[in-house]
């Protein structure tokens, strides 16, 4: 399905990227539109000024470890089109899915890309192509039920549509 395919420039991050790096403690209680500008300020200052809508984030194991902070919302607000990681923390993954952010666990992803390469991600099938290098690798696509949440734009969009929210 082509609507589950995204293409974009890759940013590479390491393992154990935690929630407190995405939303630092001083930013938790800021209005949502002010939170993204503080993303990765402790580990990669200036990144939020360089990331462009449609870019793809690639990371190592245990991505999103930490708190319930809604990290997916931040990435969506920054225009990140997909997150592909060697493995996800369960809560981090839920927060990406629930924000409507395409997410894909994929062993070997870090070795398959250099930063700045162009990736084509089919998060419906799990196929990942490195268009710069002409290589491909297959991740573990999310179960269909969870892909549907992403397709619908996240859980709040769904609840609003169903009349649960003011």
């Amino acid at each position: 399905m082509s609507n589950k395919k995204v293409t974009g420039r890759v940013w590479k991050f390491g393992s154990d990227i935690n929630t407190d790096l995405v939303i630092p403690n001083f930013a938790i209680y800021l209005p949502r539109n002010e939170q993204p500008q503080h993303c990765f300020v402790a580990n990669r200052p200036g990144w939020v000024d360089e990331v462009q809508p449609g870019d793809i984030l690639i990371a190592g194991t245990n991505f999103g470890v930490g708190s319930g902070r809604p990290i997916g919302d931040v990435f969506v607000d920054l225009g990140v089109a997909a997150v592909v990681a060697e493995s996800f923390n369960g809560l981090g993954l839920r927060n990406c899915i629930n924000a409507g952010l395409a997410s894909l666990p994929c062993r070997g992803i870090l070795d398959a890309f250099d930063e700045g390469d162009i990736a084509e991600i089919d998060w419906g099938t799990g196929e990942v192509r490195n268009l710069t290098k002409g290589t491909s690798i297959t991740g573990q696509a999310l179960p269909q039920e969870l892909q549907s949440i992403v397709e619908d734009g996240g859980v709040e969009v769904m609840l609003r549509k169903e009349g649960y929210l003011a």
């Binding site: 154990d16 935690n18 929630t19 407190d20 790096l21 630092p24 403690n25 001083f26 209680y29 300020v41 402790a42 580990n43 194991t61 245990n62 470890v65 930490g66 708190s67 319930g68 902070r69 809604p70 997916g72 919302d73 493995s87 996800f88 923390n89 369960g90 809560l91 839920r94 927060n95 629930n98 924000a99 666990p105 179960p143 039920e145 969870l146 996240g154 859980v155 709040e156 609840l159 009349g163 649960y164 929210l165 003011a166």
Partner: protein, 409 residues
């Protein structure tokens, strides 16, 4: 092929006969706990009696924002008739409170908008944290989904040596086995018999730092005694089938362990025996949070600092996990002992654990903490270093002013 205790709860609450790793199950939630009043734009809720609402992260309100948030929670509680509400005065950290109040029960499914919800796994309760939007989903619909993951069986044998605590056990596992992302832990073994509920709650809480989906302890005599007269509803514990499937079995002889300290910035693969870090100067020592803010922790700390003084140049901050812990710690004399040693004993709140509204670290400072997390910037400055140890290690380090092996004081 049988099911383990976690799969049996998932099966029971999803209406399936069998659940196996890889299955996506939609389950009915028994209890949803909310401390967040920031986005209460809900028009209708599934069942007011499944909700537990409380104030913990920033309490009493230190900012106008927090005050308005607390007010909107009180309005929500009144509007929907939430009976299980814990106002300021009866407050506590959510995971501490639901255990004390008998609201996290064996065989139940409990969710909460905080990552350390796996704490209630100590009560044989299948519990996990969720993000804010998903909490709203559960409040509205009373159900959620889980991906059933493979389960590791942890078998504890032997007795903990003097000076070594449950906190050291979970640090040891983090250091030796790393993260369990997408996986579960179930805890068994004769070594559990002498680990009380407070210690089990510590290990279940810190399971979040190992990225587990669920961490589940057995329903045994220790738990049954704890729940006797406390449980708010009848419950059905979950025990594994005799032929239950486990991905691996990790057996730990407790008698061989020594105190374990987690080094700064991450937990998985990052714990060392205390001998490797002893002597490091500390500006702040902290004990508290849902991990180590319980009465047993107060006793451990008080016994170490009794008759001694916190080192010059070091601050020792101690925060009870609930008003009830505070009341009991005062009654037992632990608070007086800590105060005489020069510690600061604060109101019950998440507080310093996440650099919320007090006890923040300055640039370049070093902290030894028995709280939940050591991430860069977690407790204030991103230029501070956070080491984690047991309450005994923290108290001994506060007295010495450097990271100190509690077996040597």
């Amino acid at each position: 092929m049988g099911m383990n205790a976690i799969e049996k709860i998932l099966a029971r609450r999803s209406g399936r006969d069998v659940v196996k790793p890889g299955d996506v199950v939609v389950v009915k939630v028994d209890t949803a706990v909310s401390f967040d009043a920031g986005r209460m734009n809900i028009k209708k809720i599934h069942d007011p009696d499944m909700l537990v609402m409380l104030h913990d992260h920033v309490v009493p309100a230190p900012t106008l924002n927090a005050a308005n948030g607390a007010k909107s929670m009180r309005e929500f509680v009144a509007k929907f008739g939430i009976k299980n509400y814990f106002p300021v005065g009866r407050h506590g950290i959510s995971h501490v409170l639901v255990a004390e109040e008998g609201l996290a029960l064996p065989g139940n499914i409990l969710v909460n908008g905080d990552s350390h919800t796996c704490s209630s796994g100590a009560l044989n309760c299948l519990a996990r944290g969720m993000g804010p939007s998903e909490m709203i989903h559960v409040m509205c619909k009373g159900k959620t989904w889980f991906i059933a993951g493979p389960t590791t069986k942890i078998v504890l044998e032997g007795d903990l040596p003097e000076g070594v605590y449950p906190r050291d056990v979970i640090h040891y596992i983090a250091g030796q086995y790393g993260d369990f992302a997408g996986r579960n832990l179930e805890w068994y073994g004769s070594g559990l018999d002498k680990i009380g509920m407070d210690g089990r709650l510590t290990m279940a809480t810190i399971s979040a730092e190992l990225s587990v989906e669920f961490s589940l302890f057995p329903y045994d005599k220790v738990l049954a005694d704890y729940l006797d007269g406390r449980a708010k509803r009848p419950f059905e514990p979950s025990l594994p089938d005799d032929d239950a499937e486990y991905e691996q079995v990790i057996t730990i002889n407790l008698s061989e362990l020594e105190p374990q300290v987690v080094l700064p910035n991450k937990v998985a693969w990052n714990a060392k025996p205390i001998s490797e870090v002893a002597g490091k100067r500390v500006d702040q020592a902290f004990m508290g949070s849902c991990a180590n803010g319980r009465l047993s922790d107060f006793k451990i700390a008080a016994d170490i600092v009794r008759g001694k003084k916190v080192a010059d140049g070091t601050r020792f901050i101690v925060t009870p996990g609930s008003q009830e812990v505070m009341r009991q710690a005062v009654k037992a004399g632990y608070v007086e002992t800590l105060l005489e040693a020069g510690a600061v004993v604060t109101n019950s709140t998440c507080g310093a654990c996440y650099g919320g509204h007090m006890g923040l670290l300055a640039d370049g400072e070093v902290c030894i903490t028995a709280s939940t997390r050591n991430f860069k910037g977690r407790m204030g400055s991103s230029k501070a270093e956070i080491y984690m140890g047991s309450p005994a290690t923290v108290a001994a380090s506060a007295i010495a002013g450097v990271i100190t092996d509690p077996r040597k004081v």
